[in-house]
Amino acid sequence: MTDRFYPSAFTSWGRIHRKTYPAGHPRYRDEIEPLLSTRNARAMLAVGLGRSYGDSVLNDGGCLINMTALDRIISFDPETGVLRAEAGLSLDAALAMIVPHGWYFATTPGTRYVTLGGAIANDVHGKNHHSAGTFGCSVRRLGLLRSDGLEHDLGPESGDLFAATIAGLGLTGVITWAEVGLVRIPSAFLEVERIPFGNTADFFQLAAEAASTHEHTVAWIDCANGGRSLGRGIFQRGNWLAGVGFSTPPARNRSMPVELPSAALNALSVRAFNTFYFRLQKAGPPVAREHFSTFFYPLDAIANWNRLYGRRGFYQYQCVVPPAAAEQAVPELIKQIARAGAGSFLAVLKTLGERPSPGLLSFPLPGATLALDFPNRGASTVDLLARLDSVVLEAGGRLYPAKDGRMSALMFRAGYAAVLPAFVAQVDPAFSSDFWRRVAA
């Protein structure tokens, strides 16, 4: 085979850009290096399951290496909970094997349809960030293949190349495999409490109280309804339950079969949904036993839920603001969003903890993080997000590259100034992405 790259359609989760890229589909680890050497000077980028929202997994004019067929487990020790696997293994497939042995990932993002390599390259975090830190904190070793053909075996002692690869957005080379330390779980179920709150001040109080009593905390917040409803929400806190087994209930998976017409989502329907959702959650039992799959991954039950936002796709906006500024900045962000009538179906608010990540470009900072979806309405959406940027910038916060498809180079540099020179020094010159070309310009 002379050309190892074949045209392949690839979209990120936000579905704003829809392009075809020359892509390689290695099935064995020894097939990656030949891809790097036959790329004909085009920029490379390894991609996984495409759950990044914006353009950090897109590579216009370059090539993609689709890693999803590299999904073998290399070793798993059910005594010590050390899992080593190829980078394309999905957390979903891994969980099916480790949970029956009483193990779980030290932390998990809100979808289990991400690859191990993607979880590392984006240094994902979850509802237990305040105790567990990021996914990168659990990485013991990883394999990194660079464009010079050398494969490095890296660990926390390896210095900047390891630190740049954790949260490195795939820009330091191809993560070929990784070894993570798992944590013991007493069952596959959690005890979850849902507590309605009226405003963001109440949220911060609830979050501060729960930080020492609950491993998992998160809040849904209403960003669509103004006035007295502004900033109301539902605070969730949960702990693993002991002694209720490791069974998995039968999946009731649904799918979003088609894209909704973009007009179906408007200020009115989003407000109505938020009101409905608030009342539904408020009316539910205050304490419930939940399987990990519905607690951590509620949206995974609806395949292709991103089609909800129609043909033009959507932006996700996730920022973090430091503790000192959070109690002012978060209400201000919500106010801006409600005023624009652009409110999001599901806005998520969470406090992040102190535990540092080994990753140089790791997004989390101690403080509060707010994540929202915005249907793409062109200039008016981009303008709103720019207004949110100024609030975040003033509060000393920053944005999450894995979610981003539009932040300016200025915004990126302001957020990551302290680590950027050390990161840039480790970037593999043969690797790039649409995101990187924009923010590093």
């Binding site: 589909h25 064995y28 020894d30 067929a69 073998r72 487990i73 290399i74 070793s75 094997m97």
Partner: protein, 255 residues
Amino acid sequence: MTGPNDRPQRILILGALSTIAEALARQYAAAGAHLLLAGRQADRLEQVAADLRVRGAGTVVTWAGDLAAEKDANGAMARMSGSLGGHIDGVVVIYGLLGDQGAAETDSAELDRIIDVNFASAARWCMAAAGVLERQRHGTLLAISSVAGDRGRQSNYAYGAAKAGLTVLVQGIAHRLAPSGAKAVAVKLGFVDSAMTAHIKKGGPLWAKPDAIATSLRKLIERPSKPLVYLPSFWRPIMTVICNVPTFVFHKTKL
């Protein structure tokens, strides 16, 4: 999944490094089966074997070698069977090669390669497997053939001819094995989204996923019914139509 007396199944997979073979092996591993994986590259076989062990397989044995070049298939098949302790429930002959039809028309080395890999060597392995299963009076030989063997088409008739030969051979083995209780099935695959077809633009309802194909293959090994099976089954009516297109029309197509 279990064999007679509820013991774990014992399956030999010849061509274990392909996309479909690995999907099949993972399904057997999840059920605790004992597996022999045969293929060319030892390091890749070890990678697949290690994964299958974690996924729940019992014994996983690897056999690294060129299946198309093995002349003593009978001896090798006996050793393979022995390495899993005998009493084999399934032998899957799944390796193959699309080849280059254009090159095969002028270069007889390419033609030989297509015929040797897809027919001559596969025939030796199928005969050897038939002998083992016949003596056991139990088990299924499953050979992967292709819809390309139903009607010669200019774009891949060397491959098609080799697969047509394999289909008839396995059909004959099924006839021969009938008194013994062992079974043989030739599976005519349509388009599958796999490494063999990576260069072809995909999409549309004709393309099957390797996982779905593997699920069907497992059912055919456990409960074989007919010696010839189209997979997915919609290929039977499609191929009936294609085989009945009049020659004066067919010869005007580029198929």
